[in-house]
Symmetry: C2
């Protein structure tokens, strides 16, 4: 199967993935969203591994809940020495450049990857390594915070291949990278 790097993420209407204090309370401004299927299960059924940055990994580890992922999670980090014992067999440390990390993941047999975490997504986009993005817009203006998007090396073209609205308030747009053939 063709290798694919995908993003599935929620942003505010002004493009932030966390508010200026790192908070995500605003994700719950429309609680009805939790009563509907907004495609996460379908999305994750099509991926075979996750790749996240250290900050996202540590955030998830800090949640008071069971480990939420069924697929292997690769943690991209230059700082971490090893994955904590509690996550052995679930999360795996990766070092090197993005391309080196991807090669290691592919070598282990995974090719449909879910890229998560703001800084890691930005790094992937800067090297034009994202193929698909499912972006759910929670329609609030925050005014400041951590933006989903950052610098890119050159203009990157996508196409919106699908748009779905939920609970008459939220919109989820599916963008696919359009590469010159």
């Amino acid at each position: 199967m063709k290798k694919k790097n995908s993003v599935f993420i929620a942003t505010s209407l002004d493009g932030f993935i966390a508010d200026k204090n790192g908070g995500i309370d605003w994700l719950d401004t429309i609680p009805e969203i939790n009563t509907v299927d907004s495609g996460y299960a379908e999305f994750t059924s099509k991926i075979d591994a996750m790749v996240m940055g250290r900050a996202t990994f540590e955030t998830v580890c800090g949640f008071d809940m069971d480990w939420p992922y069924e697929k292997p999670v690769f943690v991209a980090s230059t700082k971490l020495d090893r994955i904590p014992e509690a996550y052995a067999g679930k999360a795996f440390l990766l070092k090197g450049t993005l391309v080196e990390m991807l090669e290691e993941i592919y070598r282990q047999g995974y090719s449909q990857l879910y890229i998560d975490g703001g800084r890691l997504i930005q790094s992937f986009l800067k090297e034009d390594l994202i193929d698909e993005m499912v972006i759910t817009i929670i329609p609030v203006l925050l005014g400041s915070g951590a933006p989903l998007f950052g610098e890119v090396s050159e203009m990157l073209r996508f196409e919106c291949k699908k748009s779905v609205r939920y609970v008459d308030a939220i919109v989820q747009n599916h963008f696919v990278r359009k590469r010159d053939v």
Copy 2:
């Protein structure tokens, strides 16, 4: 009729309305959009006047084309002394605070307003004076430029009431301000 301030604007996927040099060439990355009706005529049929900032007004004046607006255009500016002769009867200068300008516009009998220009839209949003936004996402990542959104005084909630895709690439989302009742 209930007063309404509306925005109809295109942004890049990363939320810019102009690139870092002020350019808008990227709007033409999907030229097929010019072959379809993307709702501008319907939108403008429902407004009775436009309000734009000086910078936008001067940009439009600089285009090598006839004056493109059928409705009266109010130009919000602290710097301009008067509207150039060539635009007499078409464009009208407004001074004062946003609320004072709106009162003057309402006094003249206009109430369905199309607010245009990045800085003016940001000013309106900062004072929570926008009721509806139709945002067409041209799916390119620019990496930098003039953002549509800026600071807000408090979190503002909207609801996405409609989403339409065009030419299998572009998505237009309609957001309506949700105010506590």
